[in-house]
Amino acid sequence: MRLSPDEIIFWQFGFVKLNATIVFTWGLMFVMAVGSKLITDKISTGHTRSRWQNLLEIVVTLTEKQIEEVGILHPKKYLPFLGTLFLFVALAALCTVFPGFEPPTGSLSTTTALALCVFVAVPLFGIMERGWSSYLKSYVQPTFIMLPFNIISEFSRTLALAVRLFGNMMSGAMIIGILLTITPFIFPIVMKALGLLTGMVQAYIFFVLATVYIAAATRVRKPDPEAEHIES
């Protein structure tokens, strides 16, 4: 039994391998990039618009609203990065309805790459928003003793992000594989539906966690009293 789509190799030339993870990642990238390009070519600002444009507008505005609700003041700045993370993971989970498709997020290398993007982006956005000294000072808050723990938490949450997504996507495929040998009739369909739901929830979780990390890194020390009032 396969643990990840890394082991399906389509083409190999010496050191260079083309496995299912890379091929399906490229497929998803192609579908998303070309699809968005085709839709935005015929974009209209009038009253009549195509249904595909409506779809894109719903996705963009909803993502922006979700980012804002987590507590980021200027969601437009982080929308490209966070939206891409969400759309990639969600589409990878959604495309499992097609037979023969292996979700690239079911491989630990893909999820590690995504988590590393978050790992790099969080300090980057934090420094861009607050400046070097203010951001680095946040590591020794509340006291200097917390410095090693703050640094360890940066690494451990990256590991958790990667393993959580990998475990969930891998377990979905694995459970269906095991059930097919035990009860091959209707029950795997139910598990498949559950797997679709889990995939979407995991995409949302990945997106929200990345947003929360960025929000925590970019937060200025003293929030304005009005925002605090709304939160309480």
Binding site: R164, G167, M170, S171, V201, Q202, V208
Partner: protein
């Protein structure tokens, strides 16, 4: 018993125990989280959006501990490094 059988027995039993015990804690935690969220939903239906979002994020974070156990047991059963080592040695001889 030779070392191959020992490794197989230890891996299978440990894999079962890992998932079995590893699911206990998260199950209890998730039950508590959902029951608390439901009672606070009943008290404050206005805050349902915030509560539901926080609940989902929290549930996924609790569940990830169970997923870690599952990953470990899957590695023990299907991609056991010790088992592969022994097989590589046996075929090499």
């Amino acid at each position: 018993m030779d070392s191959m059988t020992l490794i197989a027995v230890a891996s299978i039993i440990t894999a079962g125990f890992t998932t079995g015990i590893g699911c206990l804690g998260p199950a209890l935690g998730e039950g508590r989280a959902v029951s608390t969220a439901l009672s606070s939903l009943a008290q404050q239906p206005d805050a349902s959006a915030t509560i539901t979002r926080t609940l989902f994020v929290g549930l996924a974070m609790i569940e990830s501990t169970a997923i870690y156990c599952f990953v470990v047991s899957m590695i023990l059963v299907f991609a056991n490094p010790f088992w592969n080592h022994i097989i590589a040695q046996a075929t090499g001889q």
